[in-house]
Symmetry: C2
Subunit: 119 residues, 2 copies
């Protein structure tokens, strides 16, 4: 379900270490050990973070290779971007309509409250 | 701190009811009672969700008005979009470089593994 997928993606990215890992993987695939290197945490802790990212669909791991490098599934970003852009556009359109109303007011009169119709 | 702000925003949006509220507020300000209406939850539960959105900077509430309508702070979307787009672009550039390498191969020969230099 899309709703759950989005919840998982947003939740996975609510942790700064996981966002950092995504940032690193955007530059190229990496092994768990390579990903663990910059952090003062155990490889187990890193594996746990990776599992969260994997369950959210943000990363995948090759099954064949011995090294099993971690790969960023950048397409998942689209899911978030689509959601964000939809509501950003809604909000912007609302402001634009307000601007149009204000711009349509004659310059030489004070704005007045709208008259109630059918009241 | 930006890192914490981002964590709060992603965390706030990891809940489907809170995303729904943001979607609703993109169409216009609303009171707590209006926001609670479509859900089978108490006004208290809705207030709790709103507090999470407020702490993430995603919504604000007017202090003066008796109705205290909730207002979407659409600018916070920029914070997420900037983060997402930066790493999406990184990943895309990486694929483009790979495409360039493949395109530069002569058509009439099979791709060969790169020769090792200085080995």
């Amino acid at each position: 379900m899309t709703t759950d997928a989005l919840s998982r993606v947003f939740s996975a990215l609510s942790d700064p270490i996981r966002r950092d890992m995504v940032a690193r993987l955007a530059d190229g695939d990496a092994t768990v050990n390579e990903l663990a290197e910059p952090y003062d945490v155990t490889v187990q802790a890193v594996s746990k973070h990776l599992r969260v990212l994997e369950e959210a669909g943000l990363v995948s791991r090759s099954r064949q290779a011995q090294r099993r490098p971690v790969h960023l599934e950048a397409g998942v970003f689209d899911l978030m971007s689509t959601w964000i852009e939809r509501y950003r556009r809604h909000a912007e359109e609302r402001y634009r309509r307000l601007d149009d109303v204000l711009a349509a007011l004659p310059d030489d009169v004070e704005p007045v409250p709208p008259t109630r119709q059918g009241a």
